[in-house]
């Protein structure tokens, strides 16, 4: 392991908060970028007020949700409501490689930190914004969350069982993967372009437009087959049967099984101790199984309930059938692959104590990958950043803290 990591030397001035933005800058911080999180006691990141709290009660430093999205960052307390703070923010922006935010359009502008203004003082800055629906158009000011963006995008209406209302993903999914993922791809591409040409730019991620791309094939399908009605299919899919989630012996132990071929199905029937099922007229071919899917799933569910989940998964996988435990939030911490690859980092936090935080989902062969440090306390790094980045004396800093600027 060397100290040099992929994003060492990249400085991010980070105004992102809550969901999608904070996860994007977390990955950059974990991979070596110096991410300076701007926040204040006057207006803390809402996620600092989001459960779960280690000690059960609301506590700015005790939120597990906040911690999970803010590892490896430094926190600089700056009350942006005050004009003096904005002057400081501009000095920091002048030295940043990336300035990131996910406010609704107008906030950065109100602070005098629009892209043209920052470009004037830092021509090669990469300026990331993540407005819900983009900075232009009739809905530019509309507000939303991951769940409502998922609803708008079509993802919710297509997720669920066909005979029941749309159910969505059960989470604010766009905040966790599509939007931080696309924000990272756009920002990193802009940084690469800058490294090669010296030219910076603005990267705007409309969270709605980003999320629609993760159901791109459904859009293409609708345009090519406009007469076709797209319906929810639950866990089923054309080309595999059974393809579903089935109960195991212990309550709430579920297993996902996918039979793409007749051989998979025959192996499953054998593993369940009912080899005759593979010869049942209703279930011989894929077309047969699709035609009798309700009965098939009922029968498979009745059989899987007799089995220990880990044993069933192991037997099926050894024989080439796609199968996996449906890991709960408890199971996931002891999942053997994740444990073997060191996915969960145990970090010690002065208020929270020990907790598990996910590293970026990739390993680097050179060993120069992620190193996580614990999430910062609010304003924990104010004095050191004031000194090292802004060149302030300790007296200046103390005065600005007392004046409520660095607070």
């Amino acid at each position: 392991m060397t100290d040099e990591r992929p994003l060492t030397g990249v400085r991010v001035l980070d105004f992102t908060w809550v969901g999608a933005g904070a996860l994007a800058t977390k990955l950059m911080a974990d991979l070596g970028a110096d991410v300076i999180k701007i926040e204040s006691r006057a207006r803390p990141d809402n996620l600092r007020l989001a459960p779960p709290f280690r000690h059960g009660h609301e506590d700015l430093e005790g939120s597990g949700y906040f911690a999970s999205r803010n590892s490896s960052k430094r926190s600089f307390a700056l009350n942006m409501a005050l004009p003096a703070s904005r002057a400081i923010a501009l000095r920091m922006a002048a030295q940043a490689d990336v300035v990131a935010s996910n406010f609704r359009p107008g906030i950065m502008e109100r602070w005098g930190m629009s892209y043209p203004e920052l470009k004037a003082i830092n021509p090669s800055v990469v300026y990331l914004t993540m407005p819900m629906q983009g900075s232009s158009g009739p809905h530019a000011a509309f507000t939303g969350f991951g769940a409502t963006i998922a609803a708008l995008s079509g993802l919710v209406s297509l997720s669920g069982l066909p005979d029941r209302p749309a159910v969505g993903t059960g989470t604010h999914f766009p905040d966790h993967v599509p939007n931080p993922g696309h924000a990272l791809v756009g920002t990193l591409a802009a940084l690469l372009h800058r490294a090669r040409t010296g030219v910076g730019q603005a990267v705007e991620v409309s969270q709605l437009e980003s999320t629609i791309n993760v159901i791109g094939p459904a859009i293409v399908e609708a345009s090519l087959a406009p007469e076709r009605r797209q319906v929810r299919a639950g866990n089923r899919a054309t080309g595999a049967s059974p393809r579903g989630v089935f109960p195991c012996a212990i309550k709430e132990d579920w297993v996902a099984i996918v039979c793409r071929t007749d051989a998979h199905w025959k192996t499953l029937a054998d593993a369940l101790g009912e080899p005759g099922l593979a010869f049942d007229d209703r279930f011989v071919t894929l077309a047969d199984r699709h035609a009798h899917e309700d009965e098939l799933e009922r029968i498979v569910s009745a059989e899987t309930q007799r089995f220990d989940r880990a044993e069933l998964v192991s037997v099926l996988r050894q024989r080439g059938v796609p199968a996996a435990p449906v890991n709960s939030s408890k199971d996931i911490l002891s999942d053997p692959d994740l444990v073997a690859r060191g996915y969960w980092k145990r970090l010690e936090h002065p208020v929270i104590g020990e907790m598990s935080i996910a590293r970026p989902p990739m390993l680097f062969g050179s060993g120069s990958g992620a190193v996580l440090t614990r999430p910062p306390l609010l304003g924990e790094h104010t004095a050191e950043i004031a000194r090292d980045v802004l060149g302030m004396t300790d007296e200046d800093t103390a005065r600005l803290i007392a004046d409520g600027v660095l607070a």
Binding site: S159, R164, G170, T171, V177, A183, R243, S366
Partner: protein, 404 residues
């Protein structure tokens, strides 16, 4: 094919040996201006048969998945089972900046794509492996499915109805997650290469990518031992959930952390609209989020809002709520989405010729807008092997020897 020099990845060559798990990663790189060469076996990659499938005249059939994820790439046919084919592959790898592949470890090794071995011939190569559980897992020959990866990654457990089995999110989201982070891995390494001149091998686990999406559930278990359960569309508290209206469903988040103002605005809206029972929602105890999370509060609010919404349309509620700063959106189906006025105003949708069916397809526009290096204008996916001669021709004399 020429890409103007004003794209972010102009001049970057990507060799694409992915299946469903990684194909969207290289699509993203193609849109950013990279020259993406998709290597397909004779007869075409299996993504060409991936649902959703659309049948055309005279027995033609197109995969909408393939059309979307392979748009803007070049396609070469190479038979990797033959010695000559593998030699051509390695000659192409010698010209590439990035290699993205999603082979199981055993297959990758057989093709000479073991981690690190390629660096000897091409030290700047960024080699990205995308596999369900990481390339280190070996000893089994399972061709995993999006459903099994969503299960192992933990997101499947959070989806579905309170009284049903877990139900997976639509759209192959394990693939998307794996592809997104594969693209991220490629780009951070290309950026680092600008400093060091060296590439790297990046081992992307799709399971880990899915496990980025577990929200507060892991901390909730660690802190209190509570295993988060599926709630389905049931409201988590009064003001947040999916509600029925006159012509469909709406999704609303009002009153969660940081949105206390939205809760007050919502109650004021209901009161000023003379909604039955709305006045009881004013003031205490409703001002407390904890109270609004009680089953009684959820039920009472559900009744009041349900009566209010029953006579109002999706779009009426959308506009009314947004005018008051309340995060409410219609639950759109694809047709409703494609009619959305915001997306039209931003000219989001793009039209791309569909060469096999002979009509036009609609694609979503790019997921981000870059001010200086806009995405390459949308292009179709290539037919299998469409660019074989051109790409091998670019290998010059070496290509002629290898393919003779």
């Amino acid at each position: 094919m020429t890409v103007a020099a004003d794209h972010a990845l102009s001049g970057i060559r990507v060799l694409d040996l992915t299946d469903e798990l990684g194909a969207y990663a290289t699509r993203l790189l193609a849109d950013l201006g990279a020259d993406v060469i998709r290597v397909e076996p004779p007869g075409g990659s299996r993504t060409r048969q991936e649902p959703p499938l659309v049948e055309g005249p005279a027995g033609t059939c197109v995969s909408a998945f393939d059309a979307f994820v392979n748009a803007g790439k070049r396609s070469v046919t190479i038979d990797l089972r033959s010695v000559k084919g593998r030699a051509v592959l390695h000659a192409l790898i010698g010209t590439a900046d990035v290699l993205v592949e999603s082979f199981p470890a055993a297959v990758g090794d057989r093709l000479g794509l073991e981690p690190f071995t390629l660096a000897a011939a091409n030290p700047g190569l960024v080699h990205v492996s995308v596999t369900p559980f990481g390339r280190g897992r070996s000893g089994e020959a399972v061709d995993d499915d999006d459903l099994t990866i969503m299960a192992a990654g933990g997101l499947l457990h959070l989806g579905g109805y309170a009284d049903s089995e877990p139900v997976v999110a639509y759209g192959g989201q394990a693939r998307n997650a794996a592809s997104l982070f594969a693209a991220v891995g490629a780009l951070v390494t290309l950026l680092h290469r600008e400093k060091t001149g060296r590439g790297d091998w990046i081992d992307v686990s799709a399971q880990e990518c899915v496990a980025q999406a577990l929200e507060d559930s892991v901390a909730t278990y660690e802190f209190a031992g509570d295993v988060r359960q599926r709630l389905g569309s049931d409201a988590r508290e009064a003001g947040s959930g999916i509600y029925t209206c006159a012509d469909g469903l709406v999704s609303m988040i009002a009153g969660r952390v940081g949105t206390a103002k939205a809760w007050r605005a919502l109650v004021a809206w209901l009161v000023e609209s003379d909604a039955t029972g709305a006045e009881a929602l004013q003031g205490d105890p409703w001002a407390s989020l904890r109270y609004r999370q009680t089953p009684a509060a959820i039920a009472e609010f559900g009744h009041v809002f349900g009566e209010f919404a029953r006579t109002r349309s999706r779009l009426e509620l959308y506009r009314g709520a947004q005018a008051r700063g309340i995060a409410l959106s219609p639950v759109n189906d694809i047709c409703q989405l494609m009619a959305d006025e915001q997306l039209r105003a931003r000219e989001f949708w793009v039209t791309v010729p569909e060469p096999v069916l002979g009509g036009d397809a609609t694609f979503p526009g790019p997921p981000y807008r870059l001010s200086e290096t806009p995405a390459v204008p949308a292009r179709s996916a290539p037919t299998p092997g469409a660019d074989t001669d051109e790409v091998l021709g670019e290998l010059g004399e070496r290509g002629r020897v290898l393919t003779r």
